[in-house]
């Protein structure tokens, strides 16, 4: 280490030494840590816990859908009174299961678990910062999430059951405790948990944006930022603008539920009795909810897209195709995501002309999405592909993004949506494009950055097995649901056995359920690999994938503060893979152009001259020893 800097070298890392040899106790190091890497791992572990629980819930209701006549008596030890005396799943509990599954997956796994883990872990490491702008708020963000998790978890065990109105909690169903048991205490706890969750997301988001804009290392201009960082940046902005709207919606709902106001309620009769609520509008809730709800799908998806851009470029050993187009399309998607919400409301009696405007805006999203898919494929094209588990999952993401995205074009048409709305076609669509694609992005990220997180490698072969079973399993689960949806199966139904038309699909439903069980079972391969490798895996080299970004310049187990010495400066974009003339097939971002004369392009040589002309604009670097 001998980077002796002369003149103008700006030390904005003066507090580095405070951090270096600083050792706290167990509590400050692992529990109430302010180190972004530890907080990221806390989010990851909590997210994995929720993913497992959400998956188990879905398999329980898949059992009901695939085997409506089977006895579920054997679940009584776990579910207790929710199994009826004749061995069936309680019908209201079915709704609660669906609701909790959706809520858990969308918010707790793919928002907190995904953004929370990778934004926290990668932002400081990839932009060259010692930590987040505010370690304290970052810690607070995790603990708000944790408290929210605890409340949501407890709500699973109360006697009236957890919230049952669907993850979209539409009133009047969710507003009236008399309506179903899942609108009682469970719903109250859902709202409290989500309010805390929103606070957590906002604290996180404020930190991410502040850090990205203000804490970049020398040379890290916006056009040298890895696409992961761009993705996290847009995600945080979307969250910052949309989560407060959900908060407002929930606030009004809380007042309707607990204080007797009528924002969403009007003209309701229960058992012949008119309720006092007068003058509210249920559609109002849908507007507010979907103003968050649609951007939320991009909050879930964009980080996964960013992660896969990075992994695909690294493992194709090629520069990402269309770096600026990738940023541009993410920006375009982020903007569009705020003006398409009413495509969820085509059948609410909306003015058909307004419907066609929202249809047009929705269909435009296909353009930037297609640009992204094109760029992934062209990056892969004729690359020296290395099929690491992270790479496999990234390619899987591209596949799901494509198959799921195509059905979005159907659903975005206001006329076709009349037939397809609220059927299993929708379930198939969003599970592929949002659920599976983001889930695969998350898995890809875990496999790819595990060596930096835990200093050890995960097992390749187990990773590949995990990938193939999950990939095939996901298609087996969700592809048939398209047909079931077109045939007219509505979602959120406990059972279809009373409808004659459904009997033709009984086998298909059984297949889906079996595939779901297998897919869930395959996740235990991952869990084993994850925890086993954490303690017993092969020791990881500092840069196992020969990658360019800054996190790989840290030691094997980076301490609080990330770099033992000075923070590296950045001289080039992150995608100099297989550059013609270069000695190796990658050139990390912290290698100056002046050290790579053999591979520089003419304009890069000019840049050296420009920046080192005169005696003030240069740094003298001593020998490495």
């Amino acid at each position: 280490m001998a980077t002796t800097a002369t003149h103008h070298d700006i030390h904005h890392d003066t507090h580095a030494d405070e951090h270096e040899h600083h050792e706290g106790n167990f509590w400050t190091n692992y529990i109430f840590s302010q180190d972004h890497k530890v907080i990221a791992k806390q989010f990851l572990i909590t997210g994995i816990f929720w993913a497992l629980l959400g998956g188990i819930l879905s398999v329980i209701f898949r059992l009901q859908l695939g085997f409506p006549d089977a006895s579920l008596e054997w679940l009584r030890p776990v579910l207790g009174g929710w199994i009826t005396p004749d061995g069936k799943l309680n019908q209201e509990f079915y709704l609660a299961l669906v609701t909790m599954h959706g809520t858990i997956m969308v918010f707790f796994v793919l928002t907190a678990g995904l953004s929370g883990t990778f934004s926290n872990f990668l932002i400081p490491l990839q932009i060259g910062a010692r930590d987040m702008a505010s370690g304290f708020l970052n810690m607070l963000s995790y603990w708000f999430f944790f408290t929210s998790s605890v409340i949501m978890f407890i709500s699973l065990f109360i006697s009236t059951g957890p919230a049952g109105g669907g993850w979209t909690i539409y009133p009047p169903l969710s507003a009236l405790p008399q309506a179903i048991s899942g609108s009682g205490l469970g719903m109250t706890m859902w709202l409290v948990a989500m309010a805390l969750f929103i606070v957590s997301s906002l604290l996180g988001g404020i930190n991410y944006i502040t850090t990205i804009i203000n804490m970049r290392t020398r040379g890290m201009s916006f056009t040298k930022m890895p696409l992961t960082i761009w993705a996290f940046f847009f995600t945080a902005i979307i969250g910052l603008l949309s989560f407060p709207v959900l908060f407002a919606a929930a606030l009004l709902l809380i007042f309707d539920r607990s204080f007797g106001t009528s924002f969403y309620l009007s003209d309701i009769y229960i058992q012949g009795q008119a309720l006092a609520h007068e003058g509210g509008s249920a559609i109002l809730f849908q507007h507010l909810f979907w103003f968050l709800g649609h951007p939320e799908v991009y909050i879930v998806l964009l980080p996964a897209l960013g992660i896969s851009s990075e992994i695909i470029a690294t493992n194709s050993r090629k520069p990402i195709f269309g770096y600026k187009a990738m940023i541009g399309s993410m920006l375009f998607i982020a903007i569009l995501s705020f003006i398409v919400w009413a495509h969820h409301m085509f059948v609410t009696g909306m003015n058909p002309f307004l419907g066609s405007i929202f249809m047009l805006l929705t269909l435009i999203i296909a353009v930037p999405s297609a640009v992204k898919i094109f760029n992934y494929v062209t990056t892969l094209w004729r690359g020296n592909i290395r099929f690491t588990p992270g790479m496999l999952f990234s390619i899987g993401l591209v596949s799901f993004f494509l198959t799921g995205g195509i059905t979005g074009i159907f659903l975005g048409n206001s006329a076709i949506d009349i037939q397809l709305h609220d059927t299993y076609f929708v379930v198939a669509h969003f599970h592929l494009v949002m659920g599976s694609a983001s889930f695969f992005g998350m898995m890809a990220g875990v496999y790819h950055w595990f060596p930096k997180m835990f200093g050890r490698m995960m097992d390749h072969r187990l990773g590949a097995i995990h990938f193939w079973i999950t990939f095939v399993g996901v298609y087996l689960v969700f592809f048939p649901l398209h047909y079931i949806g077109i045939a007219g199966f509505p979602r959120r139904y406990y059972s279809f056995t009373n409808f004659a038309f459904s009997s033709g699909f009984a086998d298909l439903n059984m297949l889906v359920s079996v595939a779901a069980i297998l897919t869930l079972a395959a996740q235990f391969i991952f869990l084993f690999n994850f925890f086993y490798s954490m303690f017993r895996g092969k020791l990881a080299p500092a840069n196992p994938w020969n990658s360019n970004t800054l996190e790989w310049t840290t030691p094997r187990n980076p301490q609080h503060g990330n770099w033992p010495g000075e923070i590296p400066a950045v001289y080039r974009w992150p995608y100099d893979y297989s550059k013609p003339g270069a000695k190796e097939d990658f050139i990390p971002q912290n290698v100056p152009y002046s050290e790579t004369p053999e591979s520089n392009l003419p304009h890069e040589n000019d840049q050296i001259k420009l920046e080192s002309s005169g005696d003030s604009g240069s740094i003298v670097i001593g020998p490495k020893h």
Partner: protein
Amino acid sequence: MSVDIKIVEEPKQPMTMNPKKFGMWLFMVTVFMVFAALSSAYIVRRAEGNWSYFELPALFWVNTVVILISSITLQWAYVSAKRDNLESVKIATIITAILGIGFMVGQYFAWADLVTNSIHLVGNPSGSFVYIISGLHGAHVLGGVIYLLILLSATQKGLVHSKSLNRIEMCATYWHFLGGLWLYLFLFLLLYR
């Protein structure tokens, strides 16, 4: 060890801003978005008809003046801090806090006026919205007053002076924001009744 020295181009330091101040601006964006959501909910709901009309309490006018004056007094505190006139910083901050509390008390009495006018929280949404919007804004003012008290204690400890203005700048930014926000909400309620 041979010493071969190389000349390397110097990377530029990216433009940055104080992270805390920047974070404060982002926080204000989120607060604004909550109220933007409430006001668009108001517009959407109002467009559907069945909307009862009533006069806003006259006290709202008085309270608006109070909160605007409090912005001026806090600005006075800020200017005094710049000139290291710590006594007036303290006095001006205290006056601002008192005005802030006065504003909240005033809002409370405005609610009482609404009640005598038979506009209750429970009833037609047109009235409920006024309670929710002014109440939520009041909650933020309460937060602002607490922030002022923290600033006061920092001044007491000598942490606020012409070389260290961040604290008072951030507090003033937030306080002006709350004033501006109320102005927006009040005008909004006046225009769309």
